[in-house]
């Protein structure tokens, strides 16, 4: 299972504790996360399902490559960090 954690800045708006979810891409993992936390989707993704301009995702400390389709591959021991970019502030 992939471990997914979220910026604490999101906690002002909704609960999003650290979770574990299955999936072999960032898109698949987040889809599973959103099944249990549907409000979270629009906080991270825009109307088209793209990562919001001022949200960023790191996989084991490395920045996500595909912000449009979230196709970056994941293994079961990977750690995903969702952060608020410093841009857009």
């Amino acid at each position: 299972m992939v471990q997914v954690s979220f910026t604490s800045n999101l906690e002002r708006h909704l609960s999003c504790p650290l979770v574990e979810a299955a999936g072999d891409t960032v898109e698949a993992v987040l889809d599973h996360v959103f099944e249990d936390n549907p409000r979270l989707r629009s906080y991270l993704l825009d109307d088209q399902g793209h990562l919001r301009k001022h949200v960023n995702i790191f996989i084991n400390g490395k920045m996500l490559a595909d912000r449009t389709c979230l196709s970056d591959g994941l293994g079961p021991d990977d750690k995903v960090f969702v952060i608020q970019a410093l841009s857009g502030g």
Partner: protein
């Protein structure tokens, strides 16, 4: 009659009430978050607050108890694009970046709400905001391709005016993209606004209705075919529901501004917040005033009793000048975070606060 004043600001939704002849802030919600629009639905008393969370997108909240508690609803969103690019996505596909205005439907459609957004989407809800649909009949107008950003990078819909006697008659204002009318709910749209003029365009395009930078439309509630238009280029008035406009040439101290408030009972009366165009956008001679016409635009009064004498940088955003149901009391909020309440149709103004965030909208709500 109990009257409240709601202020949508860069740092929250604020509520003021009258206490011993003073207007005092009695409540604040969403503190720290930009509130781009607020709506009170007169049909059921519900409040709606549109947020612009920046990093985390636009959000919509509803309160059924006057703001004591709030519920987050799904915000209007564009449908997913079918134009997939090489990577499987469409980076150019639209996404709502600002909920610019909200409007309640007519009495015959008690669950209907409207929303105008940047990019220029008109959205409709038939379940009091639980879910939203893009009005594709407008979005798919071929002329929409020529809408342009006006201040923002993308064009947007800031005015949604429902005819009070026929809820199927709708006027919308686009910056930039002119005035659009529907007479059948939203099935068919007509580019209207004949007579609007954009001086800054090449001469052959200056009168093109599609090219007009409408800043705000304000309709007289009891004579609803009268619509005032504060435009980038000046002030205009329509007596045929927005089909055509006459340019008002006697405005003073200037014809530029963003806001206009229409008297609810007297179609000859409207208020404006004049400034210097184009990019300068400060009060004329840095003297902050409100202007009012009481004769349909033939002459203007400059109202400044109670407004500051000191040099001012205050600008009034398009939704931040409002008159109440009586036509007697006004509210005025500025980008500098100053808030005034005007009495006797603006004859005198009283400062409410100098210490607020930039103000995007003021809204009077009267309840029995």
């Amino acid at each position: 009659m109990v009257q409240k004043l709601y202020v949508a600001s860069r740092k929250g939704l604020l509520r003021f009430s009258r206490s011993n002849d003073l207007w005092v802030m009695e409540r604040s919600d969403f503190v720290g978050d930009p509130v781009s629009a607020v709506l009170h639905d007169p049909r059921n008393g519900a409040l709606f607050a549109a947020l612009d969370l920046g990093h985390f997108g636009v959000k919509l909240h509803r309160s059924g108890d006057g703001g004591e508690s709030w519920e987050e609803l799904a915000a209007p969103a564009f449908p997913k694009s079918e134009e997939a690019g090489a990577t499987g996505g469409d980076p150019a596909a639209p996404s709502v970046s600002l909920l610019w205005t909200l409007a309640a439907g007519g009495a015959g459609q008690p669950d209907r709400l409207w929303a105008g957004t940047i990019p220029g989407g008109l959205f409709v809800s038939d379940d009091l905001g639980q879910s939203w649909s893009l009005v594709e009949t407008l979005w798919n107008q071929p002329q929409r391709a020529q809408w342009m950003g006006g201040g923002f990078d993308d064009p947007g819909i800031h005015s949604i005016s429902i005819h009070p006697e026929d809820e199927n008659r709708i006027a919308i204002g686009v910056s930039t993209g002119g005035v659009w009318l529907a007479d059948d709910g939203s099935e068919h749209w007509t580019l209207a606004g004949k007579g609007l003029r954009a001086e800054y365009l090449p001469p052959e395009s200056a009168n093109d209705p599609l090219m007009q930078d409408v800043h705000l439309l304000a309709r007289c509630a009891t004579e609803p075919d009268v619509i005032w238009c504060q435009h980038h280029n000046g002030i205009f008035r329509s007596v045929d529901g927005g089909k055509s406009f006459r340019e008002i040439e006697n405005a003073r101290p200037s014809a530029f501004g963003f806001a206009v408030a229409a008297h609810p009972k007297n179609a000859n009366v409207a208020w404006f917040a004049p400034a210097i165009k184009d990019e300068c956008r400060v009060p004329v001679d840095q003297k902050f005033v409100v202007s009012r016409t009481s004769d349909g635009g033939d002459t203007f009064d400059v109202l400044d009793k109670g407004l500051p004498d000191a040099p001012s940088f205050d600008l009034v955003y398009r939704h931040a000048l409002a008159v109440d149901d009586t036509g007697d009391r006004l509210a005025l909020g500025t980008t500098t975070g100053n808030l005034w309440v005007g009495a006797e149709g603006g004859e005198s103004w009283r400062l409410v606060s100098n210490y607020l965030p930039p103000i995007s909208q003021v809204l009077w709500v009267s309840t029995e």
